[in-house]
């Protein structure tokens, strides 16, 4: 759930998605779902000489299962907020497991 | 239209099934379920390299190893017509039972599986048995 929420905060930012077939696609993140499927608008492909396959495609849906990396600008991430959310997540896990929380 | 609706409408019709490993099966669809497990009859199997063929009476293919189904074009139209008919029938049934619309969604209004009439005009074949592909070797 954390990553789903995290990606939602990146909506309307420009990100680069590297796929497991080495294709790198840059575009504006339009939506993300629970499977971390990604919708990108206004896409461009890195190294279009080697990968001309997406030339006539303007926006695309990328299945979450084929994503290797997502690259984003350092400034589009609020790391302290992310750290807090991570701790809260850990806290909830401990509560659910009935472990000591302090 | 949902993929499963199309697959159901293709029952009794010829189709090509390619597995994830490149092996293909040409035959008539006998049965399918919600996992897209299928049973085909009068089947020609083609190896991934397209070099070898086998003929068999019937095969069962588990849905999770299938890459795609290749289906005769006409089946999309007939599936669509059938779907519209079922919807219309469900609507009138719902109205007569409730005496008008506006009530809560009716659970029974979906109707059973589409009635399979005799296929009108024999579906055309799905082409020659399997184009030899076999990537990744």
């Amino acid at each position: 759930m954390l990553f789903f929420s995290f990606f939602k905060t990146l909506t309307d930012q420009v990100i680069t998605v590297e796929l497991k077939n080495d294709l790198c696609i840059t575009g504006t993140l339009k939506s993300v779902d629970q499977f971390l499927n990604i919708r990108l608008d206004g896409i461009t492909v890195e190294d279009p000489e080697r990968h001309p396959h997406m030339m006539a495609v303007k926006n695309c849906f990328i299945r979450g299962s084929v994503v290797r990396y997502v690259r984003m600008g350092a400034r589009s991430v609020d790391t302290t907020l992310l750290e807090d959310a991570t701790r809260r997540g850990e806290f909830m896990v401990r509560v659910l497991k009935g472990l000591r929380v302090d | 239209m949902l993929p499963l609706t199309l697959l159901n409408a293709a029952q009794g019709k010829p189709m090509l099934v390619e597995l994830k490993n490149g092996v293909t099966f040409n035959g008539h669809l006998v049965e399918c379920d919600n996992f897209m497990n299928v049973t085909l009859r009068e089947v020609y199997q083609t190896s991934a390299d397209g070099e070898r063929f086998w003929k068999m009476k019937e095969v069962f293919i588990k849905g999770n190893i299938i890459k795609y189904f290749r289906i005769a074009d006409a089946i999309l139209d007939s599936a669509f017509e059938q779907q519209e008919k079922n919807r219309a029938a469900a609507k009138t049934r719902g109205q007569s039972a409730r005496g008008g619309r506006g009530g809560p969604a009716q659970r029974g209004a979906r109707g059973g599986p589409p009635a399979r009439g005799t296929p009108s005009g024999r579906g055309r074949g799905t082409g020659p048995p399997g184009r030899a592909r076999g990537r990744g070797q």
Partner: protein, 94 residues
């Protein structure tokens, strides 16, 4: 998954796990990314140019789908694909 709804009845380019590129009209889908594509054409990329192979009606199982892209048909029509020379896409690894 609802992101795909916008592509229904549009021409899309689907890239499969094995690297195949298939262009067709999206007629339906479900939450597992199973797709119905009509009037499919496979685009076989090679160093001799792109070969277009008509395939007809396909129902592709979602586990094999990598990308669904909406085609800019004007742009697509303006490209001379016999002049596009590239290796076919690799398969999805890892």
């Amino acid at each position: 998954m609802s992101a795909v709804e916008a592509y229904v009845d549009h021409t899309v380019q689907v890239i499969l796990y094995d690297g195949r590129v298939i262009v067709g009209k999206l007629r339906g889908y479900d939450p597992r990314t199973n797709l119905i594509l009509s009037d499919c054409v496979e685009r076989e990329y090679s160093l001799e140019g792109v070969e277009m192979v008509p395939l007809g009606l396909y129902m592709i199982k979602g586990d094999n789908v990598a990308i669904i892209g909406e085609m800019d048909e004007d742009k697509d029509g303006s490209i001379d694909y016999t002049e596009i020379k590239a290796e076919p896409l690799g398969e999805i690894r890892l």
